[in-house]
Amino acid sequence: MFRQEYGGAEEPVKAILFKDNQMENRLQNLVMVMLKAMTNSSIPEVFGHNMPLFIADSVAKWHNSETRRIIDSTGVWMANSHDLRRFVFYMSTFREGGVNLSRVEEKLKEYFTDFDGKFDAQLSNVMTSRMEVDEQFGTSSPYMCRVKAQYSRELLRLLDDGMLLAVRNFKSDSTRERYTLLEVIRFWPEHFGLRGVRDYQYFPCSSR
């Protein structure tokens, strides 16, 4: 007597033995017929897979791609709708609190300017530069740094190529503050709505 143990259950197994390969095996025939019916040798992608499952997968992916476009498009539409702006970007109001300058920041103002608070920026990315010596910009830095700043029309007028930005360096210690100086080589305004637009997108409903 064979017994199968699986998941805490113990069941007796009734074994069927065939005398030789000439014996009729209906169960095996059924399995083979089903397997043959569930494949298609003319579709290379299905090779080794279950045909109905392949079809279901393809249909699901098609629906996903269709819905994805609607979701993406709706996102762009909402980001650009003036009527929904206050709703979409309510999080940003957290930053608009009062500005309390500490004594340290007051001291820093002797050396640096943020154009009366207009230049509110973060170092966002440090990239390795393709050329160690850039003849176009006359520098020999193997790095390029991307800085992202809060938008302001006034700031756009104040910025210029060649300006120096100071970024607090991690080499600062208890006796001195160290700043890495970055030379601005180019700057540009960017609109989040336009950045998200793709050729395949469309508006889910007409906008104003």
Binding site: N80, R85, Q150, L156, A166, Y179, E183, F192, L194, V197
Partner: protein, 43 residues
């Protein structure tokens, strides 16, 4: 669709709306750091 978004964004450029726009800067670090020794004394 792209044209519509561009049309809608025209008004934004005239505002100071920080939620829809950003300024990006490419910068190169120069070879000399600025070291301030007086700053820490204030803390």
């Amino acid at each position: 669709m792209q044209f519509e978004v561009i049309q809608q964004s025209v008004d934004d450029w005239e505002t100071d709306d920080k939620t829809t726009m950003m300024i990006q800067l490419d910068t190169l670090p120069i070879n000399y750091d600025l070291v301030l020794e007086a700053i820490k004394a204030v803390r």
